[in-house]
């Protein structure tokens, strides 16, 4: 048999101390005594409880307690030899020999039947012995105990002492069947509780853990098998009586963590758990431990885990029960046989537990500490559902953790709902912290200008007038040729063909050259000196001299063999002559001559000139020094029509990106912006800012994506979001981020054209969250929810590209650096109709379109873009839908209203 004590609440892991019991019930003649400490080790599946330490003790225990905390726990034992032993728990567990901290000698004249450590002052211990002997000890100084008051002279044993749990100076004791309450401050007893009605002889005491004035008294007398709850304030009669046992109660324990649970063990072999606060009779048995057929004389409610109770029975078994079930009831028999084993000499009952079919124990109602009092659950859309025990209401809250992101997304949203994105881009550029971002936003913004390419040019540091200004500073009007005059002349040129012209060819050249000076391009820096215009005498020298083919050339000219003449001129490096003649002879010869001349000319300019005149800029963008990317881009801007420009700009971007040189990456992005290569831009960006899990960086990128997309759509180049593309998965990521902030409407607008499973799933969830009834399938979703394919607003009419007033004519536009027209211009456009940047279109070069972009756009808007329709309004929506798609649909035909061939200036309407 053993008395038991759990380790204190603060001690982990759990231990259980068992001291050999000295109860009068013990029939054993063996006088050995041990104090054993078991590791409760409840994590083991087999609940194997290991003996941590076992020490011999000088006396057998009537009472055992374990107080203190992890660092300084003490085990206090009251023994049959009248001595109180104080052990250092940690030293015991560590198996150190100096574990005995102290003992009290010759103060009590008989056995210590009961002890209680003070719950509030853990160094105080009360002991009760024979002859109403009560002492209070300081475990740190065991030499001089004090008495609680004047000792009664009843000659009775003190059967129980208990410190109050709230008032440290209140002590209850029982002797002679009644309960005496002591006030240590007064050093006197303050009240004595006697049951004059049922004459219950109180033996054991348990204070109510919550109500300081209440205590439970129980009797081990079979005549009064009851426990009574008394309140000291009304001490005439018990507050309530717990009746249920058939025989006297040996032990009681009140659960500290839940005062609605208390436990009694009686001589009827039963252990009951009571709820003293409910039931019709004022109390209720809420749980009965499995029948055991043995008396349990000692109980200890685990201080740390209140679901556990240790009981000790007279057969020498110590059992641990969980009042919430759990554990392995069938093995409990084996479980503590180890304990019995460690008390050698004690009689072992033949059958250890009688409860052959143990039932899991579960108290009728969950203990207080088992009931979840509060909580908070996240749900979709950044909502937090929370509740607590103070209320029967559940609060639904919106959690916004990325306030900045939400704010910025609203700004973006607002911007995208405007017809003009230019101001937004400008604001972004101004606000950008990094110079590279400033530049980037300026380029993006240029897309929304009336002439984006002109803006690109000036952003790249070039404008059309700058070169001509350098070459010829603005001259006084008298010396110059007025544009109008020139235009007239040009028109005249256009109406005549060279052979019938009344003008001297050299005059024609001069006129062309001077006309060109109005729209000099940056590349044409090396301007030929003006051709001398003095008429000269015609020499007809036909002599063939060595070292010169002049004679032969003259002969060839005279007979009209222009081809030979040209060939000879080239040979003699009379390039001017050769080109002059070739130009006269016709297109084919001119092109051939031009190419052979360019091959022969020295200097770095030739390749550029070649590229310009051949209209093939590819060589520039593919071979230029990366440091000159701006110049290459400017050249492409100047000479290429959109489709080719896009290809070249993208190509240039790829080269810059592939260089892996940090400073070129922003340049690459600029090229992609100019080219409108969204996917490439995004992948390049991602390369530079790999941390897109940072919401603000993702926002940065999404802003660019959305604005670029808008400009592309406006330019008739809808973005195809291929499945699994970086852009679409980023938008999905962005949408889910917005959704998590509760911005469901905004989030859904980024998913309207979802094509992927994940995006569709999120979109469906958003629709439902927004209260739209949708089916599960995508198809149903489409049926039910308005599906505007565009987020909104008409694009500026300038981008709607009405048919250009300028129909490009190859002949009219073909020119070369020599100022020579390749053929008499037929319909030279009025210079005033040109945009400031000369736009030299290509002869049809066999340059297969590298993009799937339909060659829709004329090169440049010829007029300032003035929206000709009514003010931008939201179109394409029905009902209350605010679900505007940010993404572009996969189907080009969806963009039909934006088709640039649409002749009508009316704003687009949506089907």
């Amino acid at each position: 048999m053993a008395n038991v004590a759990w380790s204190p609440a603060s001690v982990y892991p759990l231990y259980l101390a068992c001291g050999t019991a000295a109860q009068q019930l013990d029939a054993s003649l063996n006088t050995n005594s041990t104090l054993n400490i078991y590791n409760a080790n409840l994590g083991q599946a087999n609940l194997e409880t290991k003996l941590a330490v076992s020490v011999e003790t000088p006396g057998r225990f009537h009472a055992l307690d374990w107080t203190g905390d992890q660092g300084s726990g003490v085990i206090i034992g009251g023994c049959d030899n009248g001595v109180l032993y104080v052990y250092d728990a940690n030293k015991l567990i560590a198996n150190q020999t100096d574990h005995l901290l102290g003992s009290t000698e010759s103060h009590h004249s008989g056995p210590i039947f009961s002890l209680s450590s003070n719950p509030l002052k853990s160094n105080l211990v009360a002991t009760g012995s024979v002859d109403c002997d009560l002492l209070i000890w300081d475990v740190n100084n065991l030499s001089s105990p004090m008495t609680p008051g004047k000792k009664a002279n009843l000659g009775a044993n003190v059967t129980c002492v208990q410190f109050n749990r709230q008032a440290e100076h209140i002590l209850a004791s029982t002797y002679a069947g009644h309960c005496v309450i002591w006030d240590l401050k007064k050093s006197a007893s303050i009240i004595s509780i006697v049951d004059s009605v049922s004459r219950m002889k109180a033996k054991s005491i348990s204070w109510n853990p919550d109500v300081a004035t209440q205590l439970l008294l129980a009797s081990d007398d079979d005549a009064t098998p009851m426990a009574q709850v008394w309140d000291l304030r009304y001490a005439n009669a018990p507050l309530k009586t717990l009746e249920g046992h058939q025989r006297g109660i040996l032990a009681t324990a009140w659960c500290v963590q839940d005062s609605s649970l208390l436990m009694t063990a009686a001589k009827d072999n039963k252990i009951f758990v009571w709820n003293p606060d409910c039931g019709e009779r004022g109390s209720e048995i809420v749980c009965e431990f499995p029948s055991y057929n043995q008396w349990s004389f000692n109980l200890d409610w685990c201080k740390r885990d209140p679901s556990l109770v240790a009981t000790s029975s007279v057969d020498g078994t110590v059992s641990v029960y969980s009042i919430l079930g759990g554990g392995l009831p069938p093995t409990q028999a084996d479980k503590f046989s180890a304990i019995a084993d460690s008390f050698p000499g004690m009689e072992m009952p033949a059958v250890v537990p009688q409860g052959a079919t143990p039932q899991p124990i579960q108290v009728k109602n969950p203990p207080k500490w088992f009931r979840r009092p509060s909580g908070a659950n996240f749900s979709f859309g950044g909502r937090l559902v929370s509740w607590n025990k103070q209320s029967r209401a559940v609060a639904i809250s919106q959690v916004v953790t990325e306030e900045k992101l939400v704010e910025r997304s609203v700004q973006l949203e607002n911007a995208l709902s405007q017809s003009q994105l230019g101001p937004y881009c400008q604001a972004k550029a101004e606000a950008a912290a990094k110079p590279s971002d400033q530049v980037l936003w300026k380029f993006i913004g240029a897309n929304f200008e009336t002439a984006p390419r002109t803006h690109y040019m000036s952003l790249l540091g070039y404008n059309s007038s700058q070169v001509s200004d350098k070459v010829r500073p603005p001259a006084p009007v008298a010396d110059g040729i007025a544009a109008e005059v020139l235009a007239d002349k040009m028109e005249n040129l256009g109406t005549n063909d060279g052979s019938t012209s009344s003008l001297d060819p050299s005059e024609q050249f001069e006129m062309i050259a001077s006309a060109q000076s109005f729209d000099k391009t940056p590349e044409l820096e090396e301007i030929e000196p003006e051709v001398e215009t003095k008429p000269s005498k015609v020499e007809l020298n036909v002599e063939e001299t060595s070292g010169s083919n002049e004679g032969l050339i003259t002969q060839a000219l005279l007979v009209g063999d222009l081809e030979s003449a040209v060939e000879l001129c080239v040979k003699d490096k009379h390039f001017t002559h050769a080109l002059t003649l070739a130009a006269h002879a016709g297109q084919e010869l001119y092109a051939k001559t031009r190419d052979s001349v360019l091959k022969q000319v020295d200097g770095s300019l030739a390749p550029l000139i070649g590229a310009v005149v051949r209209g093939d800029l590819t060589s520039i963008t593919t071979s230029c020094n990366l440091g000159n990317w701006k110049e290459a881009l400017v050249a492409a801007l100047t000479y290429c029509e959109d489709a080719q420009f896009i290809a070249l700009a993208e190509n240039l971007g790829e080269r810059l990106e592939a260089s892996n040189i940090g400073e070129y990456i922003p340049s690459a992005m600029i090229c992609y912006v100019c080219a409108g290569s969204l996917e490439k831009f995004v992948s390049c960006w991602s390369k530079m800012q790999p941390n897109l899990s940072n919401p603000n960086e993702l926002q940065d990128l999404v802003e660019i994506i959305m604005v670029l997309q808008r400009s592309l759509a406006a330019a008739g180049r809808p973005v195809n979001l291929s499945e699994g593309s970086t852009v679409s998965s980023l938008l999905c990521q962005y949408a889910s981020l917005l959704a998590a902030q509760g911005a469901l409407n905004t989030a859904v607008s980024y998913l309207n054209s979802a094509t992927q499973g994940e995006m569709i799933e999120l979109r469906d969830r958003l629709y439902r969250a927004l209260g739209y009834q949708t089916g599960r399938t995508n198809q149903q979703v489409h049926n039910v929810v308005p599906q505007p394919s565009f987020r909104q607003t008409p694009t500026p009419q300038g981008y709607q590209s009405q048919p250009s007033q300028f129909t490009p004519s190859v002949q009219a536009q073909q020119r070369n650096i020599y100022g020579e027209p390749t053929a008499p211009p037929q319909a030279a456009p009025a210079p005033s109709l040109f945009t400031p940047a000369p736009h030299v279109s290509q002869p049809p070069v066999p340059n297969p379109p590298t993009f799937g972009v339909p060659p829709l756009t004329p090169m440049q808007p010829t007029m300032a873009a003035v929206p000709s329709g009514p003010p931008p309004t939201v179109v394409g929506h029905t009902g209350d839908s605010h679900l505007w798609a940010h993404t572009c649909t996969l189907h080009a035909q969806a963009h039909a209203p934006y088709s640039n061939t649409l002749p009508s200036p009316l704003p687009p309407t949506y089907p």
């Binding site: 599946a45 899991p360 969950p366 009931r371 979840r372 639904i396 998965s729």
Partner: protein, 312 residues
């Protein structure tokens, strides 16, 4: 940053133990010590009660919504040792299955990721965990992990169905591996893996870190990274974040915080980056991992840093 949108007066007669929104966030299910489950339709700040389910004979601890692809299905568990699966049929909620094979209080229910099927994990104070699977034969099959936590299991949570190791979020494939995490009175957090070969659930890891009852565990939704994260909270007033980088396969604990009171509940946001921690003192705090890998408190309802914060 936390603003109350609406207060749903549940009309429960006793303590509320759980409140869960459905997949779309439009319906709220609550359960209480009054043994009832209530379902509300929530729209903006208004709500309408659409069901009051009274079949349990004890306090109802938890409710869990199944993925809507299986219909409108709710599971509940109670101190009465039962698990009940409810389904909305027309406009009526009906009990479609009752599982009474636990010996003690069933404390937690959690549906598996829908990719695995309609599977429910149930954790009981009897120490075992049941895995209930709805089969193609329209029956419920159960597997039991006996003695998952010898003296009681308090919480269970499923691992997301995304294969760890697929770092690219766009390339998500459902993982065939089924895992759950459980927390028990034995202070352990345990990870269990379904072995499709033997058809049994086996203990994969036992995480030791808490010093008292583990009250709740929550496996974080995948955010597209190979790593796995589990949050556990305990009677010991601590929350521990367990992280598995997906490479070494080991779980590294990081103590989030020691709180003033017992922590009863942890819940991850749908996107898996915010953790709500709620304690016995009715305080809710929100935590987030910074880019540097530190966990910081975003908002503590008790401290009230700014006027916009509200006591939840």
């Amino acid at each position: 940053m936390v603003s109350v949108i609406s207060n749903v007066e549940t009309g429960h007669d006793d303590m509320i133990h759980d409140a869960q929104m459905d997949f779309y966030g439009t319906r709220l299910a609550t359960c209480s010590s009054d043994r009832s489950i209530k379902i509300f339709e929530v729209k903006g700040s208004t709500q309408t009660q659409i069901a009051d389910l009274r079949e349990h004979e004890g306090p109802v601890w938890q409710v869990a919504w199944a993925h809507p692809m299986y219909g409108n299905i709710l599971a509940s568990c109670s101190y009465d040792r039962k698990v009940i699966v409810w389904r909305e049929d027309g406009h009526k909620w009906k009990k479609i299955y009752e599982y009474a094979n636990h010996d003690s209080s069933v404390n937690s229910v959690c549906w598996a990721p829908h990719e695995h099927g309609l599977i429910l994990a149930c954790a009981s104070s009897d120490g075992s965990v049941s895995i209930l699977t709805y089969t193609s034969a329209h029956t419920w099959e159960n597997k039991k992990i006996t003695n998952a936590h010898s003296i009681g299991c308090n919480a269970v949570s499923w691992a997301p169905a995304v294969a760890s190791g697929s770092a690219d979020g766009s390339n998500r494939t459902a993982s065939a591996v089924q895992r759950i995490v459980t927390g028990g009175c034995d202070t352990y957090v345990k990870i269990w893996r379904f072995d499709s070969g033997t058809g049994e659930w086996t203990e994969e890891s036992k995480l030791e870190g808490h010093s008292d009852w583990v009250r709740d565990v929550a496996w974080a939704p995948s955010i597209g990274l190979p790593r796995s994260i589990i949050a556990s909270c305990s009677q010991d007033r601590r929350v521990i974040i367990w992280m598995n980088d997906g490479v070494t396969g080991t779980w590294q604990p990081r103590e989030l915080n020691t709180f003033d009171d017992v922590i009863w509940h942890v819940s991850w946001s749908v996107t898996g980056n915010i953790l709500a921690v709620s304690g016995g003192d009715n305080k809710v705090s929100l935590w987030k991992e910074t880019l540097e890998g530190q966990w910081v408190c975003l908002s503590d309802s008790a401290k009230g840093h700014s006027g916009t914060e509200r006591t939840l």
